[in-house]
Assembly symmetry: C2
Homo-oligomer: 503 residues x 2
């Protein structure tokens, strides 16, 4: 076990270097650094991949496995061996050259995307997307144990999840969201208090106050600017989050930062015993997103925290906004162009649409050159909005440029998981809303650390949910939460769910 | 040759990752990241070292060597094989575990130094320095082909240089500086215009203006803050320089930034054909320092450039300083505590003192616990100043904390080389001073690129100087430059050099 742990620590160090190279590329690197950066990332990925898939690593896994007799199922050791065995078997089917090509193309693609997005020029980006899809197909061809191409990709982000299951859940979600959106479109909420002049310096101060209450700590965290905000970490005491600023609309930066801080809290809460092992990260993107969305929406845009936020916002911008006005304003639901700025109700449709387009692209049913048209048509059909240009359409997200295909669905899965956790924390900590309203976030944070964070990647999503809520991923808790919230925001009553509530 | 180049490119990519990890540690990393950072750097160093010293790399070098028939002596190929052979033979004598230990200790030591320096607490730093010296001694013991311990260390920073030669040059330098300092102490210059209130924002704008004229370009450069300013690069189009700010005294940040920009221009000027090879860096620290000191002092504090600088300074700080006043003020010579803030005349003695202490430490003639006392005694003897505390004494420099022992002497060698290059550029470009006074720095930059920068590490220092000035390193041009400048600054006449001028 000691030898396996040493090998895995080496691999984690190589990973940490790549994480920093990626963080730097998105936050600090001058544009001239891009070509060299792509090579550096490709080389590190190649070394790491070769070292991981080597026969020697296989032997170390086997030896470690043989030493597990009498060690409990949920021990760090047994979870580590199980996790690494699974990943080793999958990774071994991928040639190191392809792993390096994927890393290089991701780095190159992101630079091309930044360029194309600035100019709203999809044709400048198309060759890079085509290349990324080509590589993704070659990657998929490495495996013969998945039901379909998309499953092989999805498995990297949400291990064990099937696209058929995602489709089933998304079907339920869509069935609930479409009538809800239709109903809400007949009502209105005043959100004029969110627009005006909000200098970056004042926003920054507001956000630092909020993040500090959440658990952001200068000793082990950084907050920077990025075109497409993200969170990452080089260990639980070097967490890096980012946001972007809009001086005419403050919720973007504020809730974006709370979202990324939610991701960061997950990484910061992982048990020290798992550091420098592959279990020392969030277990899947779905669970990761459950943390960010929970903090962003259920806390940040929640009725309880609005009582904390309203005086902070009023003070930062020298104005007077009541908790109720703020709560209703930040939850106004309306179809819009940009996923990361979408309200909680329409958000799911942004994701479902991407999930569908990704499947069509990867299965060759949709050609890259037809993507903008397909995008715009789907936006019209699902959300009723006209896309004025590709920058606010198909070019809005960084993911495909970075080769992250099969990733989007985890955002909606994250909302569902967040709904399940949110219901559970209310059962386990009955006065949680009162705590939050009093700016005491320690109770929620402790519950999350105890039930989710500290385990890192020890369990699968199913196992973790089984331990915490006793269920598989399901749609109903999220939809129930959403309807109850919207009923309050709009002061209306909404029909019950189509879905049954679990007992 | 292709296979060797591929292997070297991989090694350069690993190096680039380490460079970024180091840059980040000094500019961006939250303190909590330190323990993980040290491990990451150690692991990368171990991989890189193992890969480089492998038999396979040796075979690739041999194969490449065999393919050099008919290829000219000063070709990239031949210089590359020669450079790599030499380094391979030296590195092979160092175990990978020791290489990793050195990298880890350097990272850990820097954090300990930042902590100790803030508190002026040498005892908090002593164990780390002791450990670094221990590792340096183990490193030295790997070799049996150096005349003395110090030579093995010095060779890493100034390849081929001997400490006996450094001692000879430093003897000459000291012989010139001591009477010059005594003479200048009888005169005075008014530098009151340098002290006052200089907001960082105004300083930043001034510096950006100056650096842009020098060749700093946002496309391929960054300027950040650091406790101990430095320059580094991840390739010629990703150059990173740093400075620090003092709101009561602007020359520190300004000339510090020009100094680091001088380093950066060297890296940025290296031929594209040498990128991603070990020749794609400055050839030695001495030559590197010649570039930084040339831009900082011979340009930045020169009479010609003062005509450019005076209006920029006046404008930035809303004041009125004449070129002559500024020129004289920034060249005021007086014994002081801090090396990086020392004037050009006294600077050499700061370096000579460190060179002596380093030798005594590495040879065991001076114990770490006695170092502060020895430091303070030497400062009194050489410069006549009393050291009030260790923060402005023995703890002022980052180098020893980062395991950089044998490094300091290259600073004074850099001044000597700068003196030789400065004389030569005046011969080759007779109107260079007029160009500089007119803010046209392109002529100087081109001369440096043509004669120094583009060659990267193709030649040794001796070879490069032979090509450019037809001489070995010597003291006289620097001393002559310095005396002529000081005579103008103080409006006095000074006795001729003890050293003969070359014809």
């Amino acid at each position: 076990m000691t030898h396996l742990r040493q090998r895995l620590a080496d691999l984690e160090d190589l990973r940490a270097a790549s994480v920093l190279l990626g963080w730097d590329q998105q936050t600090m690197m001058p544009p001239g650094g891009a070509p060299q950066r792509a090579e550096t990332l490709a080389t590190l990925q190649r070394f790491r991949h070769e070292l991981f898939i080597s026969d020697e690593t296989g032997r170390l896994i086997e030896q470690a496995h043989a030493s597990l007799n009498g060690i409990p199922d949920d021990s760090d050791e047994r979870c580590l061996v199980r996790f690494v065995s699974r990943r080793w078997r999958k990774s071994r089917q991928v040639p190191a050259v392809l792993a390096a090509d994927l890393a290089r193309a991701a780095s190159v693609g992101q630079e091309a995307w930044v360029y194309a997005r600035q100019r709203g020029d999809f044709t400048a980006f198309a060759p890079f997307l085509r290349h990324n899809l080509e590589l993704a197909k070659r990657y998929v061809e490495c495996f013969d144990d998945f039901d379909c191409a998309y499953d092989a990709l999805l498995d990297d982000y949400e291990p064990g999840m099937k696209s058929s299951e995602v489709a089933r859940l998304f079907g339920q979600l869509k069935g609930e969201l479409v009538p809800l959106i239709a109903e809400l479109s007949r009502h209105t909420v005043d959100d004029s208090c969110l627009r005006g002049e909000f200098p970056v310096a004042a926003q920054r101060q507001l956000i630092e106050g909020v993040l500090t209450r959440m658990g952001f700590d200068r000793h082990g965290w950084r907050l920077d600017d990025a075109v497409h905000p993200f969170a990452t970490s080089l260990g639980s005491t070097d967490v890096r989050i980012t946001t972007r600023w809009d001086e005419t609309y403050f919720p973007g930066a504020l809730f974006g930062a709370m979202h990324e801080c939610g991701h960061g809290l997950y990484e910061a809460g992982i048990a020290p015993s798992l550091q420098r092992t592959p279990l020392g990260h969030g277990l899947s993107l779905g669970v990761h997103e459950s943390q960010s969305r929970l903090w962003e929406n259920m806390v940040g845009r929640g009725e309880a925290f609005s009582q904390v936020l309203a005086p902070l916002v009023s003070n930062a911008f020298d104005t007077e906004i009541s908790a109720d006005t703020l709560f209703r304003a930040v939850n106004r639901s309306f179809p819009s162009l940009i996923r990361v700025e979408a309200d909680e109700v329409t958000y799911g449709l942004h994701v479902i649409m991407r999930f569908e387009l990704e499947q069509e692209l990867i299965e060759g049913r949709l050609a890259v050159e037809d993507l903008p048209e397909a995008w715009n048509a789907r936006m019209k059909a699902y959300l009723g909005v006209d896309v004025p240009d590709d920058a606010s359409g198909v070019l809005q997200d960084v993911h495909w440029s970075a080769g992250l295909i099969g990733y989007f669905s985890t955002y909606a899965l994250g909302n569902m998981i967040a709904g399940q956790l949110w219901r559970q924390v209310h059962e386990d900590v009955p006065d949680i809303d009162q705590q939050i309203a009093a700016a005491e976030l320690g109770g929620l944070r402790s519950w999350l650390v105890e039930n989710v964070h500290r385990h890192g990647s020890k369990f699968t999503t199913s196992e973790l949910l089984g331990r915490v809520v006793g269920r598989e991923i399901e749609v109903e808790p999220f939809v129930s939460y959403l309807k109850a919230k919207m009923a309050t925001v709009y002061g209306i009553s909404l029909p019950p769910n189509l879905l049954e509530k679990n007992q």
